[in-house]
């Protein structure tokens, strides 16, 4: 939720646009289809830039402001692309009491970005997330789909180094 303005130029392809059109057509006449359409659109593009929201608005006949209002309400939707490696640190209760806050702070410091941002080289993006359900491994962070558990601050450098 921290930064919703768009910073990276749009580079959608014809194929992506076609895929989006098909998604919208597939949800035609379905009540309340905006959310599934936005979710699929984000799957296609990775995020929901103004160009994508405009296409959805034009094709679904929903005011773009309403779409934007929905997109900025739910934390799942991104207006900015994510890094090639998406780091999410679990700040759920179990992880928090086991020190995931420190892990999160250390990552911000090491990457030089705050939560919700992407490093300028597009490599890492950092987010805090809610419980990923791996409480037994607390504190936990994920990089893309890889889960790192029972973390300490000292582990961070080695883990990040794997993605160099």
């Amino acid at each position: 939720m921290s930064e919703k303005k768009q910073t990276v130029p749009f580079s959608g392809t014809k194929e992506q646009e076609q895929a989006l059109r098909e998604v919208i057509a597939g949800h035609k006449d379905e009540p309340g289809a905006l959310m599934p359409v936005l979710q699929k659109a984000q799957e296609i593009y990775g995020y929901l830039p103004i160009e994508v929201q405009k296409m959805i608005s034009d094709q679904m006949g929903i005011p773009m402001e309403k779409i934007y209002g929905v997109a900025t309400f739910y934390s799942q939707f991104n207006l900015n692309p994510k890094g090639r490696y998406r780091i999410s640190v679990c700040l759920g209760t179990a992880c928090y009491v086991k020190g995931s806050g420190d892990i999160y702070n250390a990552l911000m410091e090491k990457l030089g970005i705050v939560g919700g941002e992407c490093t300028p080289d597009g490599k890492f993006s950092l987010d805090a997330c809610r419980c990923v359900g791996a409480c037994g491994l607390a504190p936990v962070m994920m990089i893309n789909d890889e889960v790192y558990g029972r973390l300490t601050v000292d582990d961070i450098d080695d883990i990040l180094a794997k993605y160099e």
């Binding site: 939720m1 919703k4 303005k5 103004i50 405009k54 034009d58 773009m64 402001e65 309403k66 207006l79």
Partner: protein, 582 residues
Amino acid sequence: MENVNLKINGISVSAPAGSTILEAARIAGVKIPTLCFLKEINEIGACRMCVVEVKGARNLVAACVHPVNEGMEVQTNTPKLLESRKRTLELILSDHERKCLSCVRSGNCELQELCKELGVADEDYFAGERNHYEPDTSAPHMIRDNNKCILCRRCSAVCEKVQTVGVIGPNNRGFATAIGSPFEMGLGDTSCVACGQCIAACPTGALYEKDNTDDVLAAIADPEKHVVVQPAPAVRAALGEEFGYPMGTDVEGKMAAALRRIGFDKVFDTNFSADLTIMEEAHEFLDRVKNGGVLPLMTSCSPGWVKYCEHYYPDQIAHLSSCKSPQQMFGAIAKTYYAQKMGIDPKNIVCVSVMPCTAKKFELTREDEDAAGVPDVDISITTRELARLIRKLGIDFCSLPEEGFDDPLGESTGAGVIFGATGGVMEAALRTAVETLTGEELASVEFTEVRGTAGIKEATYHVAGMDIHVAVASGLSNAKIIMDRIRSGESQYHFVEIMCCPGGCVNGGGQPQVHGNVRNFTDVRAIRAKVLYDNDAAKTLRKSHENPSIRRLYEEFLGEPGSEKAHHLLHTTYVERSVNEI
């Protein structure tokens, strides 16, 4: 309808089933404060000002949306409730830019009023971090300052539901929630139609028109300039509210006197050019009927509506009458006919309009609105700005004499004045068109079928051997219904009047703001419209084509309605726009 019996503060009340506690309390003579609630528009129970205690209920309930039940016992004023409301206000104040002394709504702010009524003693009680926003000045007609926004969402509800435009709405979440446009773009970059209904709905100073009163004063102070003013029909029906007159007072005479005292060189009247519009529009209608033109013909007096049509129905703009609006026709005539007559260089004429409308500020910037090679109208101010100007100059409005308008652009008929109410343009046009078609004088000039505040009105008139189907719509959600019928080809209409604002110009976005707690229980549109219909009824001349000044204008200058000269000066063109221009 069935009634239910309940007690409010111990008072027995019988209220129709389905009423809210707020409505039932009204019947019992009990006032419950509200803030976010706008009847039928914004019924979201969000601000929590109207909380009341219901016996047996676990929590406090919002009176504005909570339905009454048989045997319900409600308390509206317990110490706990008074405290709750005060705390809620204090919370609102903690995230509100409290520059009240310099605020455009100071003295007329619903938040301020509630703070006073409920005895907020410390505006810093819950002081903490505040949201800060850059005011949005991108639109030609208004400013959005979220620093004063209390997130009641009345504006966005009006924009989305009443006007089906939806260019502003709540974005983000939680404490970061803010009303705005997609991707924080400026309102001026959206398909906002400039109707100003959001301003009319705003309880605070978060939304307000761009103030042009200083431009007016500067023009008046400039000895080179000949400054003429034209107040729209609806202004006289509401200006009095700003000076303590009851809603529904016609202040036409005092308004003219005030304008003169402000220092305008000539005090004319938009009613005059309303009559002129009828001459041109009735002619255009008859021409389209006779010569197989695009039907239905749709009125083009309302710039908000015109812009809406351009954005949302660009494929339908051929239906729009090519007539300029009365504001623009006035300017065109002032800077040609009047300028010639008076021997003044049109460049030195400053044409000021006083409008119930914010879209007029946008309209005067349109292309093809410059009959004399200079803009037809230079400055447009709202009814509210006129009131501000009167106050600023220390004019004691209430003790002003009743005065008339100046010649030659001040004379009007009853047909012109009813332009300010929904159905008025249609009725005025019919008065002229029917007489032109039949060549006979109308037995009655009143076309009551198109009167009233209903959102959509339809009628069929049998004239000179043909059925003329007409429709009148006000509020863009109603316009949308009509337009969808036209677009789909199912409409039989010949002539359609559309006004952007619900109820027409009397309820325009530039009119004095009516507080929610009044608006929710008062038919503002009907009360103000009655002023115009009474004004019309009291007139001897009630048909535009009978206006002597208009006749002279055609004889001396324009020739016939629809003449080439009239076309050149009084008609305009439209542009195709899109909904999402990014």
